[in-house]
C-alpha cells in the first residue's frame, strides 16, 4: 500500500485576471521524498509554492499538506512546513541569532538542534547584524532557520541562489541529511545538476502546466538515440519511445529496454547513429529550449 501523500494537489489552478499562472496541477509527494520542481521564471513554480503556504488562494482545485487544506487550514499547514523564499528579504535590523530566535518564537517552539554547530558548519557569524551581511550570508541564516525548524516538509525555492560553490555543496549535504532523517523536501531550482544530485523525483512546469513527472532513477535509465535516416521510416515506433523529428534527423527517447528500438532501427536505412543517457538537462531542454514536433509511441 503506497504511503499517504504528504503533499497532495488536485487540479490546482491560479488565475490573475485573464492570465493563468498555474493550470490544473496534480501532484502528490509522499513523506521522505525529495521532489524537484523545475521550470523557468513564470512557469508557475513559485505560484504553486505560495498556494501551498496559504499565501495565495487557488482559483480552482485544492492543495493539502498532511490532509490540511492549504488555504482554509493554513496555520496547521505552516506548522508542518518551513520555507526558504526565492526572493529573500529579512529584517536587517536584527542579528542572525535574533532572527533565528524571532522565527522560532513565532513557531512557538525553541530552536531545535545545535545552532552553534550549524553556524560553524555554514561558516557564519550569527551575532552580526543582517545589515552587515552579504546576500549569500543572509541566505545561510535563512537556511539555518529552515533546517533548525525540523518540520516534516521543507520548501526551498531556488535555495542555492547567491551561494558560493562550497556552500552549495554544503546545502546539498544538508538536504541529503534531511532526507535521511525522513524529512520531505520540495526543491525548486534552475540548477539541474543539483536537482539530479539530491532529488528522488522531478516535475517540470511549462506555462503553468506540469508537463513532465518522472523519477530520477527512470531518468538515469533513459536513453537518447540520435539517428539520421536515409529515408523516412514507415514502421510504427516501438512502445515507450518518444521521437522528435526534423525531416530525416530523429531524436528517440527510450524508457526501459533498448533492444526493441535497436531491432526497429535495424529494419530502417540509417546513415548515422549515436546512443547516450538522456539526463535531466535534455528532458528539460525538450520542454523549454525548442519547438520541434514532439510525438510519442
Amino acid at each position: 500500500m503506497p504511503p499517504t501523500p504528504l503533499v497532495h494537489a488536485t487540479g490546482l489552478t491560479k488565475d490573475y485576471g485573464h492570465f493563468r499562472a498555474l493550470d490544473h496541477l496534480d501532484l502528490t509527494i509522499p513523506p521522505g521524498e525529495v521532489f524537484g520542481l523545475l521550470g523557468p521564471n513564470g512557469s508557475g513554480k513559485s505560484t504553486a509554492i505560495r498556494i501551498m503556504l496559504g499565501m495565495l488562494r487557488p482559483s480552482a482545485g485544492t492543495a493539502q499538506i498532511q490532509g490540511h487544506d492549504c488555504w482554509n487550514d493554513s496555520v496547521a499547514v505552516r506548522k508542518l512546513v518551513s520555507y526558504l523564499p526565492g526572493e529573500l528579504r529579512l529584517y536587517d535590523n536584527l542579528t542572525g541569532i535574533q532572527l533565528l530566535n524571532f522565527l522560532a518564537g513565532l513557531r512557538g517552539q525553541p530552536i531545535a538542534g545545535d545552532v552553534e554547530k550549524l553556524s560553524k558548519r555554514f561558516n557564519i557569524d550569527i551575532a552580526r547584524p543582517l545589515s552587515q551581511l552579504s546576500s549569500g550570508m543572509k541566505r545561510k541564516i535563512a537556511l539555518m532557520a529552515v533546517i533548525l525548524a525540523r518540520t516534516p516538509l521543507a520548501i526551498l525555492d531556488e535555495p542555492t541562489n547567491t551561494l558560493d560553490p562550497t556552500m552549495r555543496d554544503e546545502l546539498l549535504d544538508q538536504i541529503r541529511e534531511a532526507r535521511d532523517r525522513g524529512q520531505t523536501i520540495l526543491f525548486s531550482s534552475h540548477v539541474l545538476h543539483e536537482v539530479e544530485a539530491v532529488c528522488h523525483r522531478v516535475g517540470i512546469l511549462r506555462l503553468g502546466k506540469l508537463v513532465h513527472l518522472q523519477s530520477l532513477d527512470d531518468i538515469r535509465a533513459r536513453r537518447r538515440v540520435k539517428v539520421q535516416f536515409q529515408k523516412e521510416p514507415t514502421a510504427p515506433l516501438p512502445p515507450r519511445v518518444i521521437a522528435e523529428r526534423n525531416q530525416l534527423n530523429w531524436l528517440l527517447y527510450i524508457d526501459g529496454e533498448l533492444q526493441p528500438t535497436l531491432e526497429w532501427l535495424a529494419n530502417n536505412q540509417v546513415n548515422e547513429l549515436s546512443i547516450e543517457p538522456e539526463g535531466l538537462s535534455r528532458i528539460y531542454q525538450r520542454y523549454h529550449a525548442n519547438d520541434t514536433e514532439v510525438v510519442s509511441s
Partner: protein, 289 residues
Amino acid sequence: MSLTLFLKILRDLRWPLLGAAFLLTLFEGFWVKITDRFTNEVIPAILKKIPYNDLFQILFEGSGKLFQAILGGESVNLSKTSDLLSVGYVHPLPQTILMIWALGRGASAISGEIERGTMELLVSQPIPRWKIITTNFMVDLVTIPTLAFCMLLGTYLGTILVPLPNIDLVPYLRGVLLAIAFAFAMSGITYAISSMGRSRWRVLAWTFGIILAMSILNLLGQLWDTLGPWRPIAIHYYFQPQYAILKNQWTLPVAGLQVNALAVMLGVAGLGYAFALWRFSQRDLPAPL
C-alpha cells in the same frame, strides 16, 4: 496576539517613539511658556490700549479667520490662561506629529511589510493573519496613548518650570483622550487602505490625500458658512479638544443631532481596523515588488 511579534515591533519602534514623544512633550512644554507670556504680558499690555473685542476683531477678521480656524479658536478667549493653554492640544504641530505616526505605522504594518518582502517571511510561519493585525493593533494601543499622554506630560513639566495661576490640569486629560481617538481614527483609515495595497508609498499617498482633503474641508467649512454643513465628513471636525477641556462638552452638532465626538472617532478607528482584519485575511499575498 503574538507576543514575539509584539515585542519585535515595539523594539523596532523604540527610537521613532522616543523621538515623537520627545517632540510632543517639548512642544507642550513650550506652549506653557507661550501661554504665560501671552496671557500675562502681551495681551494685558495690548488690552491697556484697546478693548478685547476690538483685539479679537483685528486678529481674526478677514484673512485672520484662517489663523483662528487653524488654531481651532472659535470660542477661545485669548486673555484666559486655560483657554490659550488648550490651544496647544489642537495646534497643527501635535496634530501633524500624531498624523505622521498614525499614517507611518498603518502603512508600514501591512503594505510596508509586503513591499519589503518581510511579510512573506512572517506569513510563512504558523501565525494566523488576523494575529498580525491584532498584534499591530496592540502595539498601537500602547504607542498612541503613550504619545498622547506625552502632551499632558509636556504641559505638566511646563507648568512646573513656568507656574501658571489657577490652572487645573485634570480637564486636559479630556484633550488627551480626544487626541488618542483622533490618532486612532487616522490609524484605522490607514490600516484599511494598507490592507489593500502592496506599496507603502502608494498607501501613504492615498491616505495623506484623503486626510488632507478632510482637513481642508474642515478648514474651509470654518471660513465659509456654505461649506459648514459638510464639515462632519472630516474626521478633524470631531477633534475639538477645547470644548472637552474647557466646557466638558463631548458632543458636536451633525445634521441637527448632537453626536459624541469621541464615539465617532473611535467608531471610524474600529471600522478601519476591522476592515483591515477582514481584507488582509482574505487577500492574496503577492511576491515582493
